[in-house]
């Protein structure tokens, strides 16, 4: 899957949309309801993207996926808890042949459903079935305007296919929602990427700067652009918004490494976002399994309502009572809730510390060092570890240590 569905951006958008307080339109989202349910239905994927945030040991979970019936039960249970936006993601969800059944059930339950896909495996027959079944939209990942970069970063030959799939989505009357993960190799093509999206008739485009989790953390020094490149990309995006006359809605997701305050990850732990993974683990965020001493519930043996409301894991970082200094007495703590627990643990070894992105964090030098490393020609010249089964098996077997040793858990 792409970083498209990295919850923070999506949830922030959800919240943002509700902040219009005018003429009786509500400002607030009800607290602690899993409005967003992300179903990561499989970790199998035909693409091998260097920036994938899926866990590097995903190969453990390609043989124990939930059945269709288990997914349908999870959808029903989550809907009762208030879930309304459903993302069907992966891996590549289209590698399962029951997405049609899941879509039908989602519509029946009243979800607004979104298939998050690379496009590989989308056929006329399948998209027809999705349309008839009531799938609301399809979010397609695009990588670049050049065949060369598309094929390089995904480690596949998928450039032509993506254009074909974009046309297919359009011809079936679906809104065109594109997601482009931004990194060193495509950040120089921002204007061309926006023009391509507009020419394809996209209604929405998300320019998601790479965030460093999973495979993208392993490849951080190889993927990170410079601060100047990010600023230029944002400038071009703003200029396009103002001058192009395009009606396309553009979301520019800023990278936290170049900020001095952390992101309010997932809009707060266990606040509005819930993930069910391929094997049934129930998580408050994509990366939560990197955290130490946590037992995440699994839909195979626990009730989803208990998981969300009462499980120790979902309550662990709700609110701010878990915080240490400097967060505990920080007058900005409500703005970001101390940032991302997973990033903090991966980089510092202390899950309750301040996110090292924050300039007030005693660990902030780790971010500064990562930025320096990405500009160090020797480090940046290390080969990319592409996301594939072979590399996942190698990482599980304890190989590639030199690429993961600096982190406090396997990314």
């Amino acid at each position: 899957m792409t970083q498209a569905s990295l919850g923070e951006s999506v949830v922030q958008k959800t919240i943002h949309a509700t902040q219009t307080q005018n003429n009786g339109v509500a400002a607030s989202v009800t607290q602690t309801q899993p409005l967003w349910l992300l179903a990561e239905v499989t970790y199998r994927c035909p693409l091998h993207c260097a920036f994938c945030y899926n866990p590097t040991d995903y190969d453990k979970h390609t043989q124990n996926e939930l059945t269709t019936e288990q997914w349908i039960q999870a959808l029903r249970d989550a809907r009762k808890l208030g879930a309304i936006q459903l993302g069907i993601s992966g891996g590549e969800p289209l590698l399962r042949d029951d997405i049609e059944d899941i879509v039908v059930e989602a519509r029946k339950l009243g979800y607004y459903s979104n298939l998050i896909t690379s496009g590989v495996g989308l056929t006329e027959k399948r998209i027809q079935a999705f349309k008839e079944g009531g799938l609301d939209h399809i979010q397609l990942s695009m990588h670049d305007i050049t065949e060369e970069i598309n094929n390089f970063i995904t480690n596949t030959k998928t450039f032509e296919l993506k254009k074909k799939v974009a046309a297919m989505i359009k011809s079936h009357g679906y809104p065109m929602v594109l997601n482009v993960v931004i990194h060193r190799y495509n950040i120089g093509h921002m204007k061309e990427i926006l023009e391509m999206a507009d020419a394809l008739g996209a209604e929405y485009i998300e320019l998601a700067n790479t965030q460093y989790y999973g495979w993208s953390l392993v490849n951080r020094s190889q993927l990170m652009p410079t601060k100047e490149q990010v600023e230029e990309a944002e400038r071009i995006t703003n200029e396009f918004r103002e001058k192009s006359g395009s009606k396309m809605k553009i979301f520019f997701v800023v990278p936290d490494y170049f900020s001095d305050r952390p992101k309010k990850c997932m809009n707060g732990w266990g606040e509005v976002f819930m993930i069910v993974t391929a094997n049934g683990d129930v998580l408050p965020c994509h990366s939560a399994r990197v955290l130490p001493n946590m037992q995440f519930p699994n839909v195979k043996d626990t009730d989803l309502g208990w998981s969300w409301k009462d499980s120790p894991a979902f309550n662990k970082y709700r609110g701010d009572s878990w915080m240490k200094e400097p967060c505990r007495t920080c007058d900005e703590k409500e703005k970001d809730l101390g940032g991302c627990r997973c990033q903090t643990f991966l980089l510092t070894g202390d899950a309750e510390a301040a996110d090292p992105v924050c300039s007030k964090s005693p660990h902030h030098h780790l971010i500064e060092q990562a930025i320096l490393d990405s500009r160090n020609p020797t480090i940046a010249a290390q080969p990319i570890v592409f996301r594939n089964d072979k590399n996942s098996k190698r990482i599980i077997a304890g190989e590639l240590k030199e690429r993961v040793n600096e982190f406090h858990a396997l990314p």
């Binding site: 509700t18 005018n22 009786g24 339109v25 309304i84 009243g110």
Partner: protein, 93 residues
């Protein structure tokens, strides 16, 4: 774009938007790619009446009949149309 709301205009929900009652929120919501808005009672009552046939004038008349005690309701309703249009939740039918 001309955002002036005329009584004779007919509006409908924008493409790819869905309007529904959410029990868990006890409110109407509009759903669209990547987001949702929760509507307070008054806003929900307006959007609910957009069936692709009713004019703005029809909606106002209907709401006046449904809520005879509400004062200055017409101004609020027009305000709602303006907001919904500026947010692209609705479009001209």
């Amino acid at each position: 774009m001309d955002n002036k709301i005329e009584n004779s205009d007919i509006y409908t929900l924008s493409l790819h938007h869905r309007f529904q009652w959410e029990e868990a929120q006890s409110s109407y919501v509009i759903l669209f790619p990547e987001g949702m808005v929760k509507l307070h009672g008054g806003a929900g009552e307006v959007i609910k009446r957009l069936d692709g046939k009713a004019t703005v004038g029809d909606v106002i008349a209907d709401l006046k009949a449904a809520f005879p005690d509400a004062e200055n309701i017409e101004k609020d309703i027009i305000g709602m149309f303006e907001l919904a249009l500026s947010k692209a939740w609705i479009r001209k039918a």
